[in-house]
Symmetry: C2
Subunit: 344 residues, 2 copies
Amino acid sequence: MMLDERKIRILAAIIDDYIATAEPIGSRTIARKYHIGISPATIRNEMADLEELGYLSQPHTSAGRVPSHKGYRFYVDFLLPSKKLDDFEQATIRQIFRRRINEFEELVKEAARVISKLTSYTTIIMGPQMETMFLKHIQVTRIEEFKGLLLMVTNYGTISHHIIDIPQNFSDSDLIRISNILNTNLTGKTFSDITNDMMDEIKNEIIEYDKTLNILMEILLENLADAQDNSQVISTGSSKMLEYPEFQDVEKAKNFFSLLEQHDLIMKALRSSSKPNTITVTIGNENPCIELQDLSIVTANVSIDEKDLGIFGIMGPTRMKYSRVISILEQVTDYLVKTVSTKL
Amino acid sequence: MMLDERKIRILAAIIDDYIATAEPIGSRTIARKYHIGISPATIRNEMADLEELGYLSQPHTSAGRVPSHKGYRFYVDFLLPSKKLDDFEQATIRQIFRRRINEFEELVKEAARVISKLTSYTTIIMGPQMETMFLKHIQVTRIEEFKGLLLMVTNYGTISHHIIDIPQNFSDSDLIRISNILNTNLTGKTFSDITNDMMDEIKNEIIEYDKTLNILMEILLENLADAQDNSQVISTGSSKMLEYPEFQDVEKAKNFFSLLEQHDLIMKALRSSSKPNTITVTIGNENPCIELQDLSIVTANVSIDEKDLGIFGIMGPTRMKYSRVISILEQVTDYLVKTVSTKL
DNA sequence: TTTAGCACTCTCGGTCTTAGAGTGCTAAAA
DNA sequence: TTTTAGCACTCTAAGACCGAGAGTGCTAAA
């Protein structure tokens, strides 16, 4: 059975209402609040149909109806009211990009904070995949008599620095020479390209700088390990979730927070659900990972000319203000892409 | 009335038990579990005295006793069992400092994580006060044809970097000259010393580099503002709090999490309660800030030769495993001080 | 001074009950 | 044929009630 016009209106009303109130909705409520022009009894019949078709479910026999995941899916695919952001929201978002933030990471973090603030859901940001990240610049510079800084800049504009010891007999021009050698050998290489073998080759090339180079190599390699470990998942606004009735049960809240700490799970979930340059909605059990099955995730994959910059994910109860979240996410990623392509 | 030997033993038993169980303790339980050699009736009398003296209180008439803040204070001041860390704990702590972490900030963050893991309380770290922080090194370096990096290193070893644009006509030696000028003029200055006036002076000194310098100045000033805003308060392990019966009420949990987000409050609390090179315990209502009054905070102020490196704070319910927390904190700060003085 | 005994108090966890919301079905109305 | 009014039925949430259990304070005896 296809959904006719009237069924769709009723479904939309139920989902809208449930998203707003988190309470099961009965036929009478719909008749009263949404003016569909038919009696509760008729609505009841329609609701029974919708339930049979799998779009609704009942917590218990004598309760109202609640949207099922299939219901949400239909809603998201066909019924999303296009939500215009109001002036305040627009302004709040624009503000992030007005500020002179030159570093990509900071910009993204700030964007995540603002998204959480506007949506009241948890925002997760995840850096680009290691495989597509390569070194753009590597340099050793002296900051004190026997202390130096190893600087690495990737194609995504992320910068990492490590303090290193510089042996006594090294002059500034030695450092410059080492920098040059590292640069010519390593720029353009992805982190996974840089293996011990490659290091050994370079070492051979400049056998005279042996000792320092060894240290640099070690540090560099360690840093790689760090970058891979540091499962770059950052979340903000998690405490907001405690506001929702879905998390009133402390057990549920605890599960949510411990989930957030399992970065590998989160990474897998975001990666698997997001597609390049689109906003994707994953509802409850559509997520392969069971821990996430009573949450929804809206992901936006930010990329510029095939260059994957990272993923924003917004996590909330399945009863999520989808249209609002999507609008905000669209707006933010738009600005972000614009800013990055012009400024950075 | 002074506390005699027997009262003290009873008080200690009650507090130990309450810290372990979070349940009010009755006279019979004490007689059974702790072998003081007197009957419940006698214990009852003593407990009534202790209550009258303000060391205990009763949730309701027919419940057992619960320690009051005054009771905890007495316990912390006079009764703390000196707790030896076991091998596992020792090893876990040592491990942080074995790893080659060259940067102070990373080291401290890692230490905080370990403290949270071992204690199951929330650990807060707070950077040194801005007033005591000064520039040790400042430098502009090129990372791409028209992109440079402004590097600033402070006396605490913290490093901040900002990507800047480099105008076309600037050669590498220009950058070195600018770096030198900035260095001679700004190193040793605290962030608050560096005013616009000072910037103007430097600008005058090298009028020919005018334009770039202007940008650098702006960026530098902005960075200062950031550093001051970014109320450097970082907390870890907050989700652990949901395990405790004190936070089973979602309302309480929400309060706690929103408290954690009020960095200014936290900063004030940590600053006011911590003393140089000591571990301080602040119990419940001893804290001037009402939001913190049913929590306890143990703070450790880490400093080396008057140089204030920052504060660790451990927050938990007033029913906190004080001796354990103190031992762990002692151990960690010890190692930290040692590591910093030798390595960094 | 300590302790046994006892009446008393308060909470916590069940059971019971009722009001309310909502349903599905049937039969009448449109 | 479709819609709707009416009604019996179901289920939950909230309140009332009750008894067990833990703990107290007091009194009087050891």
